[in-house]
């Protein structure tokens, strides 16, 4: 390597001497840097692939346009870093206020890749081409050590297994949400920043960029209205669907995990639901499905029973229950999916039914438990006393 470097230097020097100074151009630089294996003292590659560079977005620029501080040859060993912001002012401004503002930790190249091979983001060779973005961000955000150091979740594996990740990596869907679709690119803000597209109240709008219909439904439901009025307890998209590990909602895995999500706020409703057939069977999983929260309440446009548009409004119950229970009638829908057998005031009939059954169970078992234990003791005593009488076996 050293010999190669020396020869390259010598060649470079020769060229510099030979060529007229005024015409000094990239040809001169490539005399040395055209060697792709060229490295600086600290081992970083300083070679440039001329072909790729010329084909790249910046291919028409001269070396000095970016490496503006290098005027003469030989140039110092230490050169000032290139300032992308001298042209890309808007991006630089965005970056300055973002979570990636520390330029030393997050140089432009950490996302855009090789500075001499920058392609438009519509070009599959670009590091920020939609299908490449998750991998690009994942270089850092798929790294456990880095995630721990910054107190961030390791989101890459979550995303890549999500419905968005699948659409992107398996189907190659350009419209599938990638990191940048929700987080933005240069001006990425913490989800705690009210300006961030991932700030709680901004999430419906962010998801709505693609999911416009559902966002409109959501806005009309109780959750959407509560969030719009500033109630931060009400759920937004990511509270139910999660932020990165979003699953296809009709999939068994999601249906299995969905009920506790609603229940994390609606605790009393979850506990009464748990007592029902729907829940007891539903929590076993399988191919047949029982009703989960949104099967009756709706998913996005949840409305109170008092709203005539609600699927649980009295007038709509026959239709709602009838989705699963063919033949559901007015009497059938008097079934209470959240009945509380422990509440005498709300559900007296159920309360006394349960009380009777419990007393029967406890009474029978207590009597026979005592009866059997006494019997066992007495028979054993009798048996020992009256040996050698061979027990009563008929075999």
């Amino acid at each position: 390597m050293k010999t190669a470097f020396s020869i390259a230097l010598a060649l470079g020097a020769l060229l510099v001497v030979a060529a007229p100074r005024i015409a000094q151009a990239e040809v001169d630089c490539l005399g040395c840097h055209g060697d792709k294996s060229l490295q600086d003292a600290s081992g970083h590659s300083i070679g440039v692939d001329a072909g790729t560079f010329h084909a790249s977005l910046h291919g028409s620029l001269k070396c000095g346009d970016c490496h503006a501080t290098i005027k003469d040859y030989p140039h110092p060993d230490q050169v000032t870093p290139v300032k992308c912001e001298s042209c890309h002012t808007g991006e630089a401004e965005g970056l300055a206020g973002s979570v990636h503002a520390n330029r030393a930790e997050h140089p432009c190249t950490s996302c855009h890749g090789d500075a001499h091979a920058i392609f438009p983001k519509s070009d599959p060779r670009s590091a920020v081409y939609p299908l490449n973005i998750p991998h690009t961000c994942g270089n850092c955000h798929g790294n456990d050590a880095l995630a721990k150091k910054h107190g961030l979740p390791n989101v890459y594996p979550l995303y890549i297994d999500s419905i968005h990740g699948f659409a992107l990596s398996k189907e190659g869907l350009l419209v599938a949400a990638n990191c940048q679709s929700c987080h933005g690119s240069h001006h990425i803000l913490s989800h705690n920043d009210p300006q961030s597209p991932t700030y709680k109240t901004n999430i419906p709008k962010t998801c709505g960029t693609c999911h416009a219909g559902i966002t409109a439904n959501y806005a009309g439901g109780v959750h959407g209205k509560a969030v719009a009025s500033g109630d931060l307890h009400a759920p937004v998209c990511s509270d139910c669907h999660t932020a990165h590990a979003i699953l296809q909602p009709t999939e068994a895995t999601f249906r299995m995990q969905s009920t506790p999500i609603c229940g994390s706020c609606h605790k009393d409703k979850l506990s009464t639901y748990r007592d029902t057939f729907h829940s007891q069977l539903g929590s076993l999983g399988g191919y047949v499905e029982t009703a989960r929260c949104w099967d009756c309440h709706g998913a996005h446009d949840v409305l109170p029973a008092s709203d005539p548009r609600s699927p649980i409004a009295p007038a709509n119950l026959v239709a709602t229950c009838g989705k699963c229970h063919a033949g559901a009638n007015a009497s059938f829908v008097q079934y209470q999916p959240h009945a509380n057998a422990h509440n005498r005031k709300l559900n007296p009939a159920l309360f006394y039914t349960r009380l009777f059954m419990n007393l029967l169970l406890a009474g029978v078992l207590t009597f026979f438990m005592i009866h059997t234990i006494l019997w066992l003791i007495r028979s054993r005593y009798q048996q020992i006393k009256t040996r050698p009488a061979k027990g009563g076996k008929n075999g």
Partner: protein
């Protein structure tokens, strides 16, 4: 009760101990269908009742989800329902068509009588060493209790189960709250049946010192003269006094039948005890 002749033409063996018939082939088959379907219903019902427990989910995922579980639950339920109906039809045929005596009343009837009340107290006194051991007739009070508990249980569990299975149909004549109540009734009564059979019935009938480890009479249909005399002295004396002992003679059960019965019986008891442990762990664990 019924025609108590052992269903065999082989002459009774007089070489050794004499054996007497206690259960007919139909009664033994009824018990076999009953405990097979009951084990199946318990094994498929418990995971639904305690669906939050780890073993329920393990079991469900092992067999292909609750779709499989509920399919077999319904399957066993239908078989048991048929067995129940056959039994009821059989009882009424014998009593009303064949004019058999002692089915609904009397010493050989399953219906409780005054002697049973006296026996309960007498037995308890004997437990405490305060009196003599009662002389039991054909069916002792705890056996009658077992019978009627199962009878009542099948009506209650069966009715509530079918009400859930065909809820929209039952809703035509049941009030709305009843659809909520049937699950409570079904699961509590089912739990009672499971706890009762797998602890009380197992011990009272099979595991107590007089019968330990298993009372084979429900499998072989016959019991030794010794056992007949000790366990049901009043019946033995009555039959002897009527001079009908000979007509009750059966044959000593063949070895294969005993071994087969033991294999089946121990398996049933093992499954029952396993389910009992799982039930108790889920009941007290949650």
């Amino acid at each position: 009760m019924a025609d108590l002749k052992q269903d065999t033409s082989t002459a009774p063996s007089h070489a050794g101990e004499r054996y007497f018939v206690r259960f007919t082939r139909e009664q033994r088959y009824l018990h076999a269908v009953l405990f097979t379907t009951f084990l199946g219903l318990a094994a498929t019902g418990l995971p639904m009742r305690f669906s939050e427990s780890f073993w329920a989910r393990k079991f469900a995922s092992g067999v292909g989800g609750f779709g499989t579980i509920i399919f077999f639950h319904k399957f066993f339920a239908v078989v048991l329902t048929l067995a129940f109906l056959v039994h009821v039809k059989d009882v009424f045929t014998r009593a009303l068509v064949h004019r058999e005596k002692g089915i609904f009343w009397g010493k050989t009837s399953m219906v409780a009588n005054w002697k049973d009340v006296k026996d309960i107290f007498g037995h308890m006194r004997w437990f405490l060493g305060l009196g003599p051991k009662p002389q039991f007739e054909r069916y002792a009070y705890w056996e009658k209790f077992d019978y009627w508990a199962v009878f009542w249980g099948m009506i209650v569990i069966g009715f509530s189960g079918y009400a859930m299975w065909f809820a929209p149909f039952f809703a035509r004549f049941l009030p709305g709250w009843a659809l909520n109540a049937v699950l409570v009734i079904h699961s509590e009564e089912g739990l009672l049946a499971i706890l009762f059979i797998f602890s009380i019935h197992f011990v009272n009938t099979h595991l107590r010192p007089d019968s330990f480890p298993m009372d084979m009479v429900i499998f072989t249909g016959v019991e030794s003269e010794e056992e007949f005399k000790t366990k049901r002295p009043e019946e033995y004396q009555r039959v002897a006094a009527q001079g009908k002992l000979e007509s009750r003679l059966g044959i000593k059960p063949p070895v294969w039948l005993l071994n087969f019965s033991k294999a089946v019986g121990y398996t049933a008891i093992f499954i029952g005890l396993l389910l009992l442990v799982l039930t108790l762990s889920a009941y007290f664990g949650s």
